[in-house]
Amino acid sequence: MTEAPSFRYIARKRRPKEDRRFVAGHGRFVADVALPGTKHVALVTSPHPNATIVSIDPSAAVGMPGVLAVLAGDELAAATLPLMVGVDTPNVRRYPLAVGRARYAGEWVAAVVADSRALAEDAAEQIHVTYEPLAFNTEPERALDPAAPLVHPEHGSNTLLHKTFVWGPVDDDFRAAAHRLAYRARWNRSSTVPIETFGVLARWDPGIDVLDVWASIQMPKYSDQIARALKLPGNAVRVHNDVDVGGSYGVKRGIKHSVLVGYLARKLGHPVRLIEDRLENMAGGDMQGPDRIFDVELAFEHDGRVRAMRMRALDNAGAYTGRAPLQLGKPITAIVGPYRINSVAYEAISVTTNRTPQEAVRGFGQGPTNFAIETGIDKIARFLDLDRHEVRRRNFIRHDEFPYRIPSGSEYDSGDYHAVQEKTIALARWPELIAKRDKLRAEGRLAGIGIASCLEPSGGNSAFEPLLNDKNDTTTWMEGVRVRIDALGAIAVVISTTSAGQGHETLAATVAGEILERDPDGIRVARADSLSALPTNSPVGSRMAIMMGGAVAEAARRLKAKLMAIAAHELAVAADRLAYDGGTISVQDAPEKTVAWDRLVHIAHRNFHRLPPGMEPGLEASYVMQVPTGRYLPTADGRVQIYPCYSFEFHIALIAIDRLTGKPHLHDYFIGHDCGTVINPDIVRGMTLGGIAHGIGAALYELFQVDAQGQPISQSFMDYLLPSAHEIPHVAMVEHHTPSPHTAFGQKGSGEAGYLGAPACVASAVNDALAPLGISIDSLPIRIRDLEAALSGGSPA
């Protein structure tokens, strides 16, 4: 399975198309888009985690130089509909600006519009808001206590979602198993924290009644959501997708920003923009990630084989619903990880608290869940005194068992987990790595080796929506593209989304070039705006290699078939007697009979009289792709196929910890990676390495904290620590290629897997280092201060 089929352009080293404009300083990010007369927004935010807004007095601000308007929540709420949410919580209403009550410190209370951002900030300081502070809660477990303050009293409780699933004979399996082990794993709040904050610019065009929007966005159905909230027809919002997005990894969903700015632009008759500063981004930008407590119980045999799992996941969604509860849903599609676990009980609870709301983060909940599962596998090994590799080996699904259906109903497409594990062990030169660890230990350091495996479900159908929301019957998460050849013979692929570094232009050009056998460097990739776009769901869920790649392949095939039909007609032979080579079409047994590319193009664009009867002139083909395997609503007992493809990774890392200060240092990192056929090796490698760095951050450094007063205390890069080049070790990588049977070229998704496995691997390394001291830490991040506290005999801070 590792023999890659031969491709012309796919899987070969090729420079990504996008890079040249970025190195030249010619990227076009939202803050670079300049419209004459643009006005700027600054925000007034709540200093209280929970408070009634008694009054807002803008009088001191409105007369200030350059100030156009002050907007408060009442006016905006009267003019708009609440923002869309993912689960069925109709009484948890959300508007861009707080209405009557602020529910977290940092929540937007009022917006000022002025000639410049500086003037808007000056005026924002002069808006006087009177608050009546209320009792608040920031803790997820306390949120379940009936005595806890209600974040949304009209909702009646703090529970946004509570679903229990039982897949298979869990109780029987637990009774029959030789051992059981219970533990708690805590994933505290971090996020993806792109270097570019969220920004949006909107302009109302009164001549045609259209709201033009430029945004740093990665959001499915973004234009629809803006239109719905602003009570506009869908075709009155035009989102321009030709905006480079400065990183997202899931979180760039600024719908509240966009509705606010869209409303202001229409009301004021000026272009209006809001570019978050870092403080707004981190406190009130709604970009924080999962915040989760796992209580897990595993039932297993003497040999380490796991029979059954019970998992309860309690997640702190923050002050509003958003899509946060759905992040408990995606893990259902890989709830047993890469292991043969016969039965599972899963209880998913999402609660609301007085914290910043949560947004989608890379992996959509899969990273925390993988950490919880891998923590258990290590614990079994320790409990049985077995080798950690051996426990994984014994539990892995075997390569000859695919397609493999897991208890929750999802079928894993393909994989060879044992092979990737062995390749990674060989890459790490395991005996030498052990020797290196032991040498560090002998020198007095605390040293440990971490191991983790992980799956990356990719290409998703968003079927967690109907699974977690009875009122949602979505069964498609399509992606559409158009491929065209112009009258001069040049190829363009029209895609319908923004990109945030995933290399979609390279992907689309490579695939179109592969099918049409034309050099991808000469293929233009254009981005349609939302009014001219085909149906799309944006690059979420590691889906674009599968979905956009698949759509381009099919559209290009249709175009190629049209070229063949034209040639067949021109040469007066049957199409199945023709051969296509690099855009020239010849008769197989009479190669002198040929129609070249330029001739085909000319006929299609100029010579209707030479076209086969009934054929449309011109050269254009569109294709809207449905998610492979995504056909059905969930069954009554909660089984569903959410993702078609499953990539696999195996991580190994060596860490040393200073005994005195607790400072960790990652010496070595190894990864084995299998995402099927790789479209562009440098892009896949980059996303994997970047994901690992992101995961190292989540494991050791990054934490959104609030203090006892409910105040955010991670508001800058001084206190929310992103790993720099100093903290990230050299990563050695080995590839494996198990093609997916469901995709055009055998490709799978690859944007998330580094991040999904690295936190578990680093935690495993830390715990191996601490094992000789009898200490175990199952709460992420494990910061220097937590290690120092543990080593000095205290409890982790």
Binding site: A24, G27, G501
Partner: protein, 167 residues
Amino acid sequence: MKHVEIALAVNGRVHRAAVEPRVTLVDFLRDELRLTGTHVGCEHGVCGACSVLLDGEPVRACLMFAVQADGRQITTVEGLAPGPGELSLLQDAFCETHAMQCGYCTSGMLIAGHALLNQTLTPSREAIVEAIGGNLCRCTGYQQIVEAIELAAERLRAVNRPEATTP
């Protein structure tokens, strides 16, 4: 607010302007000169996305006021290439190793790498890490950036050898 007259050279061209004293250098470069290749990431001097060369030294353009750059030489990412439509060897190396994804931190990384290669053409991995250690990248995990600077150093060494031909 009172404006202050300044004159500074940006990418070799002298600009005269009247600016508010509170305008940062990065806002001046972006908003007044429309040199939008320099990016704003944190506005408190940690991320390095706004890095420019000030008289050849890398600095944070978000931590300086434009008036402080009066009389100084500034180089932004737009000024790294030898000519219009061309790339420097370092910029080309960034493309060769795919030393970026979203492109947002890239300008600052190029400035940091450029300043390093002005000092040495034989940087160790540690020296490269040190040079870019004040620039945050969220996409790449830094490895392909380190490789790009190593590659550029190697190519610059080759270019500077008398027997070598310019690639």
